[in-house]
């Protein structure tokens, strides 16, 4: 398939109407022509540019200020710091996230993004500063966090039981949340037999099974294909619109256009 054909196919797959997708494809070809470039050289791989374009077109030019709808503070970090032995991982981190907001934590590898998220969850203690947090929290680690020999349904039962939900209800909730990520768990498939992306979907569902007010997500889309990636961000925005707070650790810079706060841990030092 040529670049425009793949671009068109991806737009349609992302839910753009046929006629509009064809028009956008023609425009894109003309834009490449006026710069005397081939489309791949100007815009990069067709599926990535399609995704980017869809996200850009969805954003209003004059965005209404979102803070008017923000809810109560659900997470508040003041002067939080963490040391390992003598090494300071980060220092003086301030972050406030309200209901209806999305915060992104960015920074180079090893700057403590995951540690900060674990501190927000309460799994790691900060060495300095103060954390205030709503009680109901969902945490999705970067990897692991599932039991390899259990099926998705059994995970729902287990995580539901921990939150005091009866098994039948936990399973139906899990199936419902999985469907929103375009996933239908196979009854007999164990977690270790799932592909990386599907296991992350399981991880996400487990994180929100007990309807937390605050979701802490540590690069949760590793192994996602583009369609799932778009589904994921749609899901994040629907959580936000439902008044929940979301903190996402990410290394993808183009995610940042749709979030309310960006915390750059790399710049802290």
């Amino acid at each position: 398939m040529s670049w425009p054909e793949r671009f068109l196919a991806e737009l349609v797959r992302l839910g753009v109407q046929q006629a509009r997708a064809r028009r956008l494809t023609e425009d894109t070809a003309a834009q490449a022509a006026e710069q005397a470039c081939d489309p791949g050289g100007l815009f990069g791989p067709p599926h990535l540019y399609a995704r980017h374009l869809v996200a850009e077109l969805a954003a209003p030019v004059a965005a209404p200020p979102r803070f008017t709808q923000a809810g109560p503070v659900l997470l508040n970090l003041t002067g939080v710091g963490k040391r390992y032995r003598r090494r300071t991982v980060f220092d003086n981190v301030d972050l406030t996230v309200r209901g209806g907001e999305v915060a992104a934590v960015v920074g180079a590898n090893g700057c403590g993004k995951s540690t900060l998220l674990r501190i927000c969850a309460g799994l790691t203690r900060p060495d300095a500063g103060q954390v205030r947090r709503t009680r109901r929290v969902g945490y999705v680690p970067q990897d692991g966090g599932t039991a390899g020999w259990l099926t998705a349904d059994e995970h729902f039962t287990l995580f539901g039981a921990a939150a005091g939900v009866v098994p039948r209800r936990a399973r139906s909730t899990g199936a419902h949340l999985a469907a929103r990520l375009a996933w239908r768990p196979e009854p007999a498939q164990r977690a270790q037999q799932l592909s990386g992306g599907t296991r992350q979907k399981l991880n996400l569902v487990l994180g929100e099974l007990h309807a937390p007010d605050l979701l802490l997500l540590d690069e949760p889309y590793q192994g996602f294909d583009q369609g799932t990636y778009v589904d994921f961000w749609r899901q994040v925005h629907s959580w936000r619109d439902a008044g929940r707070a979301v903190v996402v650790v990410t290394h993808l810079l183009h995610d940042l256009s749709t979030v309310d706060h960006v915390l750059d841990l790399g710049e802290q030092r």
Binding site: D27, T28, A36, C37, L42, H52, P60, V61, A62, S257
Partner: protein, 110 residues
Amino acid sequence: MMPKPWLHGFLDLCLLAMLRERADYGYGLAQRLAAAGVADVPGGTLYPALLRLEEQGLAVPSWAPSESGPRRKYYEITPAGLSVLAEQSAQWARFRSGVDILLAPVGEAQ
């Protein structure tokens, strides 16, 4: 040159301002931005912004042949575009004067 995250917020405003001056096509706008010292905008950032202006009715496109090579899509600002531009330039002016005050060395601030 403008740092990338700044550009993201101001690209629409810059494009509308340039279109107010005269209708132009994508590559021409990119060159004007670069000449003004604002930014070297890559095609992957510029064209989605133009398409967005078009889809939201702030600019209308028209095709015109070029002396050399393929036909070009010229954009012209609409009345809706002009009002958004006016509104956003006022916001920008307020924002800029606020930042200027903060940036001015202590003692010189008015």
